[in-house]
């Protein structure tokens, strides 16, 4: 072991002993620090995971969705538009989609009925989202009955539940076949909710959208990119709101940390004087305090980050659900894909560890650069 490392080790030993001597104060700081890192990291981790999830879901969405607007509102789209758009250059497929909402008074939630383009359930059957199955206590072969557009009971036999992995998208979803859908909503034949367009070259999506609007001025064209941006904006707004609220907490912690860590007591100043008098250089005192601040802030940071990680990825983040997922009766429960983003981790560490360490060093440096002879006069 080299002299330099031995010296650092001795300084670390002393720093640890020093922290243990003021364990009440340091424990308080550690807990407050951990809480702040936990909350901020939690919001950042959760927001990022939701964005990732949304991006993954949108990867399967059509490049363009065309809706019809009547008086500025979404209206049913005639099947004839399909032929109109199929002839556009660059469009490889146009498919009419059927979906709609049904309010379930028992649940107090809006359910989404959707006709899948492939593998639709058999007539009289339904596949339901996990959240809906959970809330209603439904399993395979159970019967789910709603009142249709004419107010008559319309029973569906549950053929299965949808995968939990995609619960973000299917929490309130009911997959039905076309015949049942049209019958349930009294949805006119030859009409669709909207159209899904596949575009050969992803770089031509914008051009194709322009062409759609030229041919069908009453249409609204939504690209996958725009949907992604909308999700992004919604999550950013919510995350920003939560971080703004948390910034008050951060400020409170900063004041506490500044007061506790930077305000040297007379006793601490005396001790620094003793260290200097018995042969510690200013650099030794600073290094020891650096270790002290570094150990406390790093361990608190890691504890806070790990707790946030467990909270978000293994406990469904109950603290942030309401704000970040948005309001819902049928909250989706889905396992977010755990991911450690090194850049994000470094940024969080930079924003929390460095200010604390700096706050502790300045007053120590001031005390450590004074002549140590004050010790002799006390």
């Amino acid at each position: 072991m080299t002299g330099g490392w031995r010296r650092q080790r001795a300084l670390i030993d002393f720093a640890v002993a020093n922290m243990a001597r003021r364990r009440g104060r340091n424990l308080g700081l550690f807990l407050a620090y951990t809480l702040v890192v936990f909350l901020i990291s939690g919001v950042v981790l959760y927001g990022d995971a939701l964005r990732r999830e949304a991006r993954a879901l949108l990867a399967d969405a059509p490049e363009l969705v065309v809706q019809r607007l009547t008086a500025g509102r979404h209206d049913l789209i005639p099947a004839g538009w399909t032929e109109t758009l199929a002839g556009l250059r660059g469009v490889t497929a146009v498919q009419g989609r059927l979906w709609g909402y049904h309010y379930d008074p028992a649940l107090g939630a809006n359910l989404t009925l959707w006709v899948p383009l492939e593998d639709a359930p058999l007539p009289g059957q339904v596949q339901i989202g996990s959240a809906l199955a959970r809330e209603k206590g439904l399993g395979r072969d159970d019967v789910l009955s709603f009142r249709d557009a004419y107010g008559k009971p319309f029973p569906f036999a549950v053929a299965g539940t949808l995968e939990r992995q995609s619960e973000l998208a299917n929490a309130d979803l009911m997959l039905v076949n076309e015949k049942d859908f049209r019958a349930f909503f009294a949805f006119p034949q030859g009409m669709f909710t909207d159209l899904a367009l596949s575009v050969r070259n992803p770089r031509e999506v914008r051009k194709v959208a322009e062409k759609v609007l030229e041919r069908l001025p009453a249409a609204r064209v939504i690209s996958r990119e725009e949907m992604a941006r909308t999700y992004e904006a919604a999550f950013n707004w919510r995350q920003g709101l939560l971080l703004s609220v948390l910034s008050v907490l951060l400020l409170a912690f900063a004041l506490l940390a500044w007061d506790k860590a930077s305000g040297l007591s007379a006793e601490e100043r005396r001790e620094i004087g003793i260290l200097k008098a018995v042969g510690w250089e200013t650099g030794d005192v600073l290094a020891m305090k650096l270790w002290e601040g570094g150990l406390l802030s790093l361990t608190a940071f890691l504890a806070g980050y790990i707790l946030a990680w467990l909270h978000v990825f293994h406990a469904d983040a109950p603290l942030f659900t309401a704000v970040l997922k948005g309001w819902s009766v049928l909250y989706p429960r889905f396992a977010l894909v755990p991911e450690v983003n090194v850049a994000q981790l470094a940024s969080l560490a930079f924003l929390t560890v460095l200010p604390y360490v700096a706050a502790t060093l300045v007053p120590v440096w001031r005390a450590a650069t004074l002549d140590p002879d004050g010790v002799m006069r006390e």
Partner: protein, 223 residues
Amino acid sequence: MIELLDVHKTFNPGRENEYQAIRGVSLAIEAGKVTALRGPSGSGKTTLLGLLGGLTRPTRGRVRLDGRDVSALSERFLTLLRRDTFGFVFQQFQLIRDLSVLDNVMLPAQPTGRSYAEIRRRALALLEDLGLAQRAATPSQWLSGGEAQRAAIARALINDPRVILADEPTSHLDSDLSQQILAILGRLREQGRTLILSSHDPLVFEVGLVERVVTVKDGVIVP
């Protein structure tokens, strides 16, 4: 050999509370001898000790150690010199609370880069020698006055300095304990170390330990 050449020390210069503690002192301390600074409280003994031991710099004048001017050394080199050459025993012991006696004794050696085991061995040997081995793990604030002073002496010796500076080493002790401490200081002299004491305790001057007395009054040496 430590020399002070026309040394002045002014605290808070240019301020309302400016105070001239030492006024043009020239003094030579002989190596291997016991020198005592005597004088009433506030006479400048402690400041003089601080100047001799490199704890503070003169406002004017020079301090020489073995013929080398140390008053102009950078803070870093002065600290290293202080650590290797001087051991300090402060008036109020100045042990760090809640730290064990052993840790307190090891303090001056911590940043030297010596191995922990070596420092610990030396600290335990010193505590054994001073009759404090059984108190090694005790927090320093639990020590009696005599024990605290012995722990402070052990701390002063950890880096094996050739000069020991002791500021009022018996001021907080009763006469029995004072005798014990003076006996320990006598042993240090026998080991060939230079001792510089400041005291106004008559006992220090009666036991035959001190070889030279320097009387200080109002910041000057009186013949």
